[in-house]
């Protein structure tokens, strides 16, 4: 039996300070933005920021715990986490708290959390386990060998779709899908799957809820419906663009402070940054994200152990897709999908999940010389 936690001095000396610094920087930016977006007027006080600070403290604990975890232990228990995640998603149908027409939250003794966030990490672990298995095809997945990973990926996606939470389901699909591509898919199989995806596009569209269709339509031409769904996109673009090169200044963003910007503590937190700190601020944050993702890729590339490498790229893809979809939405190039911006958006489950994921990456990074 391997112990869950296995660290020695040699390993600790390789602690990934850069990664941690980038993560904490993003957390700090997030807190500043939340102060601006969530502060009560006339008072120097932002309840949103304070709650986020508590979440981040917990997240930091999760980060430490995750980098201490023994990869062998993780690998063994990965399917256990996966099934726990699926069970919690299933539990939503019976005990889920309804908000905004969907059951997304589970309540445990006064705490509320989103199982779908935890599920992202569990799915990454499960997929990493499958891709690193001894019997994994060496020359890429074909149709037959794809069955297992697709089923493992499909179950949580289906459960989340039924909440319903299209954005998060799509996010799971993108994370697991990109891991699959990195694991390798045969050219002919990839071609066939692409054809199938195109063929399925229309039936998929017809099963979308009206508000989801409306979002896509309003994304394509937001000016057609400026007071409805298009309002978010228009106001966000105005906020971002009006920041110009150096921004309007901390607490000076009129779009934010006068509430023109919707959902400014969660989905549109990046608009707050862009408005108050301008292109300079946006560029810094974008660079921090790029560093995190590429740094993780580098770690995966150097990693001698397949399971850990897949965990790292999985977390990297999780951060990447969230970031791309969120900022893409904020700058008006992607439809309005309620996905958080990693570490910046307000939301405990989200912040803790990302910090835990980065803990896994830090753990792998720290142990990179272990198997030499």
């Amino acid at each position: 039996m391997t112990s869950a936690i296995r660290v020695d001095k040699r390993v600790l000396s390789n602690f990934d300070w850069l990664l941690t610094a980038a993560m904490l920087s993003l957390c700090a930016v997030g807190l500043v933005m939340l102060f601006s977006a969530g502060h009560v007027h006339e008072k120097n006080y932002s309840p949103t920021m304070e709650r986020q600070f508590i979440s981040m403290s917990i997240g930091l604990g999760a980060f430490v715990a995750c980098f201490l975890l023994n990869p062998t232990f993780l690998r063994r228990w990965s399917f256990v986490f996966y099934w726990i995640g699926c069970l919690m998603l299933a539990a939503l149908f019976f005990k889920g708290v309804v908000a905004g027409g969907a059951r997304r939250w589970l309540e445990f003794g006064g705490f509320r959390f989103q199982p779908s966030e935890f599920m992202k990490l569990a799915l990454i672990l499960a997929m990493a386990r499958i891709f690193s298995a001894e019997n994994a095809p060496k020359d890429g997945y074909d149709m037959k060998s794809l069955i297992v990973p697709v089923v493992v990926m499909g179950l949580p996606v289906a459960l989340i779709l039924f909440e319903p939470d299209l954005g998060t389901a799509l996010c799971h699909l993108l994370i697991a899908g990109s891991m699959l591509l990195l694991a390798g898919v045969r050219g002919s199989t990839f071609f066939k799957l692409s054809l199938a995806a195109i063929a399925l596009a229309y039936p998929a569209w017809s099963t979308l809820k009206d508000y989801q269709k409306q979002r896509v339509v309003s994304f394509l031409s937001p000016e057609q419906d400026p007071l409805g769904s298009g309002y978010h996109a228009i106001q966000s673009k105005i906020a971002v663009g009006s920041g110009k090169l150096f921004g309007k200044g901390f607490l000076e963003g009129t779009q934010t402070q006068l509430s023109f910007l919707p959902e400014q503590t969660t989905d549109f937190i990046f608009s707050v940054l862009a408005e108050e700190w301008g292109f300079a601020g946006s560029f810094v944050v974008l660079s921090l994200f790029a560093f995190l993702v590429l740094h993780a890729f580098a770690i995966a590339g150097r990693c001698r152990e397949r399971f850990s490498a897949f965990v790292v790229v999985g977390v990297a893809m999780m951060i990447f897709w969230h970031m791309l979809i969120n900022i893409g939405m904020v700058v008006g190039v992607l439809p309005v999908v309620g996905l958080t911006l990693p570490l910046l958006s307000y939301g405990g489950s989200s912040v803790i999940t990302f910090m835990a994921g980065l803990g896994l990456v830090a753990g792998v990074s720290m142990r990179r010389f272990l198997f030499t």
């Binding site: 591509l181 105005i238 920041g243 110009k244 946006s282 397949r306």
Partner: protein
């Protein structure tokens, strides 16, 4: 555990993945650059538009003064009770409470609410305009259970003299929704919430009175709630108007009309200045300055005497015998008669197989022009009308300003009719019949005039043949820049020989002074007054009735002093009977006020003395002065 043989492939795929990630990051960066730097100024403007709102502050209107600088119209603070709709929890309940507190019907409040010209969220909507102090106190008292109810102060119009000259002054109030939608509002600078002149001088000279609205730029949040003030552009108060109206003369005119329905116009024949323009029944212009209450409005609209009609300019009457002055001028100028030409009056004039009666059934005997005018002999003027023909009558009527608007600076003027053959063909589709000329000759038939036209024509006879364009506006004074506009007298020439006018003027003096003159009651000691009575027939000849509304309209035109006229007057008293008894005393009263102010009148005991003599004045001439239309039709048929 090792990555095994797939490791090299994995590394390659990682590299491709990293490249793709880089591409996406670059795309996001480029998009951010495009929005924030390339398009930054554009989006900054949009965000400024989002947060700023410009609010017009209505400028106080200019004051209106009479010719001596006495205030006629000014502004007063009005308290409006408004609702901030966003802060009202339940509209029905709020209106009910307000209605209970103030005893105003809920329906009125609802009407005001619907009439709302609110343009933005968080802009208060007035539901009770111009509340009284008592109502105000009650609303303030109950403020705690009236959430969303706001009391604000706005300037409103005040007419300190109440029912004095409301037809001239008009009224001003908030622009209505239909007006706002009209092309008139779009072409001019009017906006919702502006106080706009709706009638009379207030409307005619609104551009001067209006001033320029100020602007307040405020910061608003996404819901439209005000957060702060960004800047103020002060409003430019409206300019003050000085009218030609004389407050004393106007008051005398209205008082002299008293309970009678009628009109008085007094002009300065040398300038066209309107000294008085009275219309009765009158009303209190203050009723209109706030939001007029529905019952007041209905009462005024449904009154059978039409108090809202500005009779001096908007009502057409047959001028009756007052037209004979113009006939006399026409006859002499066209040389169809001389002052010595005499006609015999047997009490009627025979034409086309029937008798056109003179008002004196026994006849005037042999009359020359002088006698014909002083005694108002109809037979003489029937004959004169035959000699002149309708086209000559039309020519002189038109020369003296009849049949067209005088051009007074008031909205709603009517033109009356100076009939001619062409006129009849155009409007009635048939040619002129000679019998109709006879009616017109004594100021009846198709001939209709407004009182102001008769005043203008009288002024032209008085001043030697120049027809003045009546003017109410004397000058416009800016509170900072002084006089910015001054009107000049405008005349049109009749080119009638002044000697002829002098002659006719002499006859008109005899109307007042001769012992048989019809206008003796207009006489003033020490001042040479000239005038002419008239009686415009209302119902058919011979129908004796006691009902007042079938009585004839009494006319009187006059001017004085005859040697150098300073005032010309036209008076009509509806259903007043004979001009000499009903209208002439009004002329006297108006002139006395006018001349007393100028120190030209003897002391009051003199006028007492006069009153004594007027008691013994000849009794009112009964009967009818003229033929009637029914009669004419009979003649035609």
């Amino acid at each position: 555990m090792r990555a095994g043989s797939g490791r090299g492939h994995f590394g390659r795929r990682l590299a491709v993945g990293a490249l793709l990630v880089c591409v996406f990051f670059t795309l996001l960066g480029v998009r951010l650059w495009y929005l924030q730097v390339a398009q930054g100024a554009y989006y900054r403007d949009l965000s400024e538009n989002n947060r700023t709102r410009t609010i017009r502050t209505v400028a106080p209107r200019g004051n209106i003064y009479d010719r001596d600088g006495r205030i006629l119209v000014r502004n007063r603070p009005a308290f409006n009770v408004s609702l901030m709709l966003e802060d009202v929890p339940e509209m029905g309940q709020a209106l009910k409470r307000l209605s209970n507190i103030t005893n105003r019907p809920v329906e009125d409040l609802e009407v005001n609410l619907k009439r709302g010209t609110r343009r933005y969220p968080f802009e208060p909507q007035v539901v009770m305009g111009d509340v009284s102090r008592v109502e105000l106190a009650r609303v303030k008292e109950r403020n705690f259970d009236l959430p969303g109810v706001i009391v604000d102060i706005l300037p409103a119009r005040a007419y300190p003299h109440g029912d004095l000259a409301p037809h001239v002054l008009g009224y001003a109030r908030e622009i209505s929704k239909p007006q706002l939608d009209s092309s008139w509002a779009k072409e001019s600078k009017y906006r919702a919430g502006d106080i706009v002149g709706q009638a009379g001088i207030e409307r005619q000279w609104d551009p001067y009175l209006q001033g320029d609205a100020g602007l307040r730029q405020v910061e608003v949040d996404a819901k439209g709630k005000r957060r702060g003030e960004l800047g103020i552009v002060d409003d430019e108060p409206g300019q003050d108007l000085y009218l030609t109206l004389d407050l004393d003369v106007q008051r005398t005119a209205q008082d002299a009309l008293g309970e009678e329905v009628g009109a008085v116009v007094a002009l300065d024949p040398q300038t066209g200045d309107v000294l008085a323009l009275a219309s009765t029944p009158s009303f209190d212009a203050n009723l209109f300055s706030g939001r007029i209450r529905t019952d007041d409005w209905k009462r005024l609209r449904n009154d059978k005497d039409h108090p809202l009609t500005n009779r001096p300019i908007a009502e057409n009457y047959a001028p009756g015998s007052t037209f004979k002055l113009i006939m006399a001028v026409a006859g002499l100028a066209e040389k169809v008669i001389t002052p010595d030409t005499t006609f015999d009056c047997p009490g009627y004039y025979w034409f086309a197989g029937r008798a056109y009666r003179c008002h004196k059934r026994s006849g005037h005997g042999k009359v020359n022009l002088e006698k014909a005018v002083t005694m108002s002999c109809d037979s003489y003027f029937y004959k004169l009308g035959r000699l002149l023909g309708i086209s000559n009558i039309h020519k002189y009527a038109t020369l003296f300003g009849l049949g067209r608007k005088t051009g007074i600076d008031l909205p709603g003027e009517r033109s009356g009719v100076a009939p001619s053959n062409e006129w009849k063909i155009r409007y009635l589709g048939e040619r002129w019949y000679p019998g109709e000329t006879l009616s017109v000759s004594i100021g009846q038939g198709f001939l209709t005039t407004t009182p102001i036209q008769m005043a203008v024509a009288t002024a032209a006879i008085a001043n030697g043949g120049r027809v003045p364009k009546p003017r109410l506006l004397k000058k416009v004074v800016d509170r900072e820049r002084g006089v910015v506009f001054r009107t000049a007298p405008v005349f049109s020439e009749t080119h009638v020989d002044p000697k002829i006018l002098n002659l006719v003027s002499g006859y008109a003096e005899e109307v007042i002074t001769d012992k048989h003159g019809t206008g003796k009651r207009a006489a003033i000691d020490g001042i040479r007054v000239a005038g002419k009575t008239g009686t415009a027939q209302v119902v058919a000849l011979g129908k004796e009735t006691l009902k007042k509304e079938f009585n004839d309209h009494a006319w009187f035109v006059s001017y004085a002093p005859a040697e150098n006229p300073m005032i010309a007057i036209a008076i009509i008293v509806e259903n007043g009977g004979h001009g000499g008894s009903a209208a002439a005393p009004i002329s006297k009263a108006v002139m006395e006020t006018f001349f007393r102010k100028r120190g030209m009148l003897m002391e009051p005991e003199v006028s007492n003395d006069e009153q004594g003599t007027s008691d013994s004045a000849p009794q009112r001439v009964p009967g009818v002065e003229a033929t009637n239309r029914a009669h004419q039709n009979g003649a035609v048929g």
